[in-house]
């Protein structure tokens, strides 16, 4: 269970949110919505422990994530609005090096299957990533979700520059993750097409 | 009154701001008195040095400036460390307030050192361990301040300059040692700053008085600067209802 307790966050002079409390249970998804600049990404970064809140704390299974440190990092998969893709590496190399860095090494075949699952055909796997389109690069980043065994997923605008087919595939993958008692926090300006009883919406007003 | 004063209370900017404001005039008065006495002793009581003649009188500003330059760097690093450890805004503001004064004393130590070196050693500059470390110290002060001004986000500026200040504190002793080592290798340039002559007690007294004056001057100036920084940063007029500013404002109406 992921819990935010009276979080406060400012960027520069601007107060983004104060006294924010929210709880995400296993098997459910938190959709963070709001206008640009309302602090959605900041909230996700606080959840990921990249950003420390001005006040308040984030608890994972009842323990402060800033105390858990690397143990907490071992529980989550974070995909920010930057893809973390190296232009000079192929999609396959990118995916495999990202997984081995995260401590979840995968086989060559496993990585290929993940890339295929998100709709990147085999010939593309061997091209340098710099020739890919934005949507294809996003898919390479999101392919990690098919290999991740972590319970908590933190996704920043995962559907950006994805076509409808890919959006549906990713949504389906999210659904499977939740059904296996996973949790997810998704920052999005689109509706997440999942059953309403497992989706909790948090609107930030800025 | 028990000794159980709540020191933590003063660690909040709201309580610190008026306290610092009350302390500054006192420090300023003591500085004026100490400097007056110190200069009088330095120029009129302390005797002429039999080796260096009157040129030695430069130590009454040189040594205090050099001591303060190093001492202030350590103090700045300590505040930076406290800021990093406790995530305390006031500590970072203190570190920020110390840097310009420390840099000024470092510059003065180098300048007065050159003024002293020319008549005694015959050269404005020698690559002596103390001079070199002092020069590097100036670069580090400059680095701390430049790093701060190049980062727009205040929180990041605070923390990044704190990390650099802490790294620098390890560096300066290593440089001192390494230059000393290097100088023993190059026998020719070996110059020792120790004059060898025994210091008259009046000389020592004058020097210590000047050091104390410089120290209190630093405290006063740093407190004044930290007050300015607080107002600039928080950009709010709500420090304390009793604050003089509000009274002034009311009177002005």
């Amino acid at each position: 269970m992921l819990q935010a307790v009276s979080l406060r966050c400012s960027r520069g002079e601007r107060r983004l949110f104060t006294d924010l409390n929210v709880k995400v249970e296993r098997g459910s998804l938190l959709a963070v919505v709001g206008e640009n600049g309302s602090g959605k990404t900041s909230l996700l970064r606080i959840f990921s422990s990249l950003l420390s809140p001005e006040q308040g704390s984030v608890l994972w299974e009842g323990q402060d994530i800033l105390q858990l440190k690397e143990l907490y990092a071992g529980q989550l998969t974070y995909i920010g609005h930057l893809n973390g893709i190296k232009d000079d590496l192929t999609p396959l190399e990118n995916l495999m090096s990202a997984m081995s860095l995260a401590g979840e090494s995968c086989s060559n075949n496993g990585a290929k299957e993940a890339l295929e699952a998100i709709g990147l055909k085999r010939p593309i796997h061997q091209l340098p990533s710099k020739v890919l389109s934005q949507g294809q690069k996003r898919r390479v980043a999101l392919a990690r979700l098919w290999l991740s065994t972590r319970p908590l997923w933190l996704l920043d605008e995962p559907f950006t520059s994805l076509d409808t087919a890919a959006t549906a595939v990713v949504t389906q993958r999210l659904h499977t993750h939740l059904q296996r008692a996973g949790l997810a926090v998704v920052v999005t300006h689109q509706e997440v097409a999942l059953p309403t009883e497992i989706v909790q919406r948090l609107r930030l007003t800025g | 009154m028990s000794m159980d004063i709540n020191w933590l209370k003063y660690s909040s900017p709201q309580a610190f701001y008026p306290l610092a404001g009350r302390l500054i005039p006192w420090f300023a008065c003591v500085v004026v008195v100490l400097m007056g006495v110190g200069l009088y002793m330095g120029f009129f009581v302390a005797p002429t040095d039999f080796q260096q003649g009157e040129a030695y009188r430069i130590i009454f500003v040189h040594v205090p400036a050099a001591w303060m330059s190093m001492f202030l760097y350590v103090v700045m690093a300590v505040w930076a460390g406290i800021g990093m450890g406790l995530n305390a805004r006031l500590s970072f503001m203190m570190a920020q307030a110390i840097a310009p004064t420390g840099a000024m004393f470092t510059f003065l130590a180098l300048l007065t050192g050159a003024m002293w070196g020319k008549p005694t050693w015959g050269a404005w500059w020698v690559w002596d361990a103390r001079l070199t470390s002092e020069l590097i110290l100036l670069f580090q002060y400059a680095g701390v301040m430049l790093l701060r001004t190049s980062i727009d986000d205040l929180r990041r500026a605070d923390r990044a300059s704190a990390v650099f200040a802490l790294v620098g504190v390890v560096n300066v002793p290593i440089i001192y040692f390494s230059v000393q080592w290097w100088n023993t290798l190059h026998q020719g340039a070996s110059v020792s700053m120790a004059t060898g002559s025994k210091m008259a007690s009046t000389m020592l007294t004058a020097m210590l008085l000047m050091t104390l004056a410089f120290w209190l001057y630093s405290i006063a100036v740093i407190l004044a600067r930290v007050r300015c920084i607080m107002v600039e940063r928080e950009s709010l007029p709500v420090w304390n209802e009793k604050s003089a500013v509000i009274q002034e404002a009311v009177e002005a109406r």
């Binding site: - | 000024m104 003065l108 950009s235 404002a249």
Partner: protein
């Protein structure tokens, strides 16, 4: 007292240039620092007062 005249005092046994440059430079630096801080404080106060009076106007209006 070791100085018999003011000119002897300013000559500093021939080292006057070095000694006085040091002392004057120190005095100038300190004076400049105090002056700069004084101005900075005046600026912050003016800003504070402006925002205070602005706030007061709103409440009395």
């Amino acid at each position: 007292m070791q100085w018999s005249s003011a000119s002897e005092f300013f000559a500093m046994g021939g080292y006057g240039l070095y000694v006085w440059t040091s002392f004057v430079a120190t005095a100038l630096c300190m004076g400049w620092e105090v002056l700069a801080l004084w101005r900075r404080r005046a600026a912050t106060r003016a800003e504070q007062r402006a925002s205070l009076l602005g706030g007061a106007d709103e409440t009395t209006a």
